[in-house]
Point group: D2
Chain length 327, copies 4
Amino acid sequence: ETQMKRTMSYGKGNVFAYRTYLKPLTGVKQIPESSFAGRDNTVVGVDVTCEIGGEAFLPSFTDGDNTLVVATDSMKNFIQRHLASYEGTTTEGFLHYVAHRFLDTYSHMDTITLTGEDIPFEAMPAYEEKELSTSRLVFRRSRNERSRSVLKAERSGNTITITEQYSEIMDLQLVKVSGNSFVGFIRDEYTTLPEDGNRPLFVYLNISWQYENTNDSYASDPARYVAAEQVRDLASTVFHELETPSIQNLIYHIGCRILARFPQLTDVSFQSQNHTWDTVVEEIPGSKGKVYTEPRPPYGFQHFTVTREDAEKEKQKAAEKCRSLKA
Amino acid sequence: ETQMKRTMSYGKGNVFAYRTYLKPLTGVKQIPESSFAGRDNTVVGVDVTCEIGGEAFLPSFTDGDNTLVVATDSMKNFIQRHLASYEGTTTEGFLHYVAHRFLDTYSHMDTITLTGEDIPFEAMPAYEEKELSTSRLVFRRSRNERSRSVLKAERSGNTITITEQYSEIMDLQLVKVSGNSFVGFIRDEYTTLPEDGNRPLFVYLNISWQYENTNDSYASDPARYVAAEQVRDLASTVFHELETPSIQNLIYHIGCRILARFPQLTDVSFQSQNHTWDTVVEEIPGSKGKVYTEPRPPYGFQHFTVTREDAEKEKQKAAEKCRSLKA
Amino acid sequence: ETQMKRTMSYGKGNVFAYRTYLKPLTGVKQIPESSFAGRDNTVVGVDVTCEIGGEAFLPSFTDGDNTLVVATDSMKNFIQRHLASYEGTTTEGFLHYVAHRFLDTYSHMDTITLTGEDIPFEAMPAYEEKELSTSRLVFRRSRNERSRSVLKAERSGNTITITEQYSEIMDLQLVKVSGNSFVGFIRDEYTTLPEDGNRPLFVYLNISWQYENTNDSYASDPARYVAAEQVRDLASTVFHELETPSIQNLIYHIGCRILARFPQLTDVSFQSQNHTWDTVVEEIPGSKGKVYTEPRPPYGFQHFTVTREDAEKEKQKAAEKCRSLKA
Amino acid sequence: ETQMKRTMSYGKGNVFAYRTYLKPLTGVKQIPESSFAGRDNTVVGVDVTCEIGGEAFLPSFTDGDNTLVVATDSMKNFIQRHLASYEGTTTEGFLHYVAHRFLDTYSHMDTITLTGEDIPFEAMPAYEEKELSTSRLVFRRSRNERSRSVLKAERSGNTITITEQYSEIMDLQLVKVSGNSFVGFIRDEYTTLPEDGNRPLFVYLNISWQYENTNDSYASDPARYVAAEQVRDLASTVFHELETPSIQNLIYHIGCRILARFPQLTDVSFQSQNHTWDTVVEEIPGSKGKVYTEPRPPYGFQHFTVTREDAEKEKQKAAEKCRSLKA
């Protein structure tokens, strides 16, 4: 019977690397929904995982023969040193640089998967010479949403082919205090959830995007680069605008808006989670407020990809609505 | 151009369900390396994630039409209630039961992926009537290694097909105080790691296995069931026996041993991590001991599948070694 | 011999309570180092722990007599409902309100300790009517630094006395890329740490403060209220200004500055931690940047209180320096 | 006015230290409720925090003068090296050794607080020479309950006085499937919790104990040493025996039993938490089982000290009960 294609790879995780005074990211194309105009890159941090594959490594498994093994500790040195020599401006570009350097340096590596999760630093205020401005020295490490990118490359003959590239923003936690409902779903013997015409929808969002042309992701031409900060702000505005009937519909509209704003993308994918609170006090005399609390642990989630086709259909639907309104 | 096959699914995570007095698991086939003989199942806990797919759900995304939406809160009720009606003995069997019941109940669900991560409970000692024995009432919740299984099913016409099933043991953390080395690897400009002829190898292991016949995983015939406890004990014995030249070789041998012991399996896959300590004090006068400490965060990892073919080759190698020793 | 004064209390932890449209905090006294001018309080979240003491509870322990036990579940209801009826603007004020209501409602409670840890929400941008502004609907939940306050009250006869009150900002993580050194410390047989004239000092700060007059903490007179946001910005500016010889000296100067800005406080206490990175690449040709990485787990910490006396001494030292410079 | 006594200390946290082949702990006094008979100490791990105080350190805060500063990195070296030279058998003894060595080495240190949290290792099975036994090489790192001890020492003139010592077992998570109730508590407008005559009580326990004579804690005379394993097993047996009306009463009885078994102790303190599940399915036809799930986050907790006096009273109550039964 057919030999099963085995999984075989090894590598290093949690390679933390911090770089000061990376070349600033400038020249990005601004969008109306976001004030994002670039990054100083005075302090950048990244948590890199690198995973290597190649037939040449099989004897290290089957025979304990380490002759061709690149120690994962050396991979860690390789990555950290290359953050010093990297001359670009983005994590996407850095992963691209490292992938090529790895495959160029070690001819027996056939495949490489690199992931880089950003560790964001935000400039703090400083009061200097009777003026409150932004410090160029002091930064807060943020544990909020952050970007992450993934690159897979493989050697085919003399070339190196990028087989996968996507960027994402992870762990964006947004709550909208009104303008959300969840009604009309199936009610049967297994249903205990009441309909809710006004819930404080609380979502955790991971949003990822792929470019038509992978080269755009590296920001060599920054005007074609899509920044996670812009995606975050787009998601926020769409959430603000939409009377949401469900998370499913919310992410669909966010995806269509991102694709409308960024023609250089082919698709946008979502991993969303529902962490909406339970209501404790429904009415407060003299206030429009309410009191809520954390629910039990089970949470709903959605996985969905919005395609360029979806975005086109939405554009047409919107155009038709306009025409019928004018008519 | 071709319509991109989109990702579309939704479901519920962290569905914790605890069941008391589940039917005990008896009749397992014991192996020499393990004292495991079955489970009382007085308290079993499982953390279930269920992910549903089906073309019928597309309007909930694109149009906010919830008419066909099974609320994820209802999925949670479904799962928890079915742990009450489940008459089998294993999580694998429970997932199989739930998958069928979901697809039978909701005709517009096309695919379902269920994962169940066990929350282990270990009976505590009790001193009763002047005798120290095992309590039937008091259990400790363990945060150590635990089993987990995954089942994917889909509807094709009138049948339900299991498209994937595997079981695993997660997060087994083992250290071996001597008899481990890591030498002979590539040394170049990126290498700072010294060779080590005697390291206290510390591994985190996730080990998963697949059956030739998926039905064996449900333990309807318990003699054909492979228990995570047995896999754990096999891994431990192989680690004990082997002079390890690397984690790569260690997991290869563990995999071959598991396949030798359990002919009903087709392959064993590993996700291993290296968390070996750094040495602080190399020599202690009057003691063979040493002092170590936690290293920096980066850790090496390996992903590897050992196939039935590998196991056969190892068997032959061992047989040849025997013959040449006798000769 | 004397009866040992026993510990005896019980209560509820992780009482999450979210309130929308709490009365906004306005009228705070601004300081030069911070743009903070108040809080909208559209969404506020707090994680409350309440701990109750009283001799009357002893039989519940010794005799299993629950007659006088207020179920902790009821305490949870009490706290959450009172967030609905609370008419103030701060967590400090909320704890004060709850403490009084508890002791007024249950005459057999003698002591109460309440802690409230804020769950911060930050308004997101929204693009509406061709303008980018701040949304009144969509908020991001922040996992960065947050405020926390503690209140201890006890019944003495017919009065309720506040025996302790302090407010704090927790888990502020700041890095300063240059202008920090650590030299001149003791070098002996146990010393391996090299001197460092230029380290990227990375501190985690918990800063707490006490008021001369506890009533100021509730913000009934908001001009006397000290906001965690102001304390955070003061800490950041002092860090920006100071050539730091150590964390010890940094926190001393931050404390003096806080006491100078806020005469209503008696003392400021610090719990600080050192998480400075290790250097990997010291020099990058053509750049003033460097590459760093996460160190091993052990971290230095400091606990220190800066008193009003310290602040006065610093003021005098600064005044003398000025005079000698002019002379 | 009086100068406020300031907080001033500094030190090192997360000093992980692992020692192989520490001297085994033998000669402990066994108790009926536990099979514990000693520890091999082949692999011991401890996470040490050390906190130093002394007036001499004030200039490092106020003036940035590091002349008398023992770098916390040096403290880390000190602790790790002393785990190599330590000749005793317990963490309590190790902390005592380190405290003395610190105060003897650095005359300007006045106070020291050391905490040591054990990282437990459990021997794994090994199948060798056709026999299943316990490996002397392979150990599992446990993330379950573990011991921890605290020691405070201070210099007074030429002597070093131990001002506080206690040992504890942390994070023991036990569930008892029946024989627990919670009824008869106060019902008022804030009460929504139903009475429960049969709940699967799930407790998290931290239990700490103090010795009459601190020297007993170091196990120089192992027969007077109280092992965390013994305390764990006592807690388990009492839980098994008792029809619990509340956690309050459960911990009272556990405390009395510990003090009865170990006359060398003066008191036992508890920090307990209630994490009992919510019931989902109350009745399963054909089974005595039920289905439960995780509750919302708020949890009840208790802090209580059981004194030697309490234990004596319980002994008398039990004696009286016996007499009245016989009569």
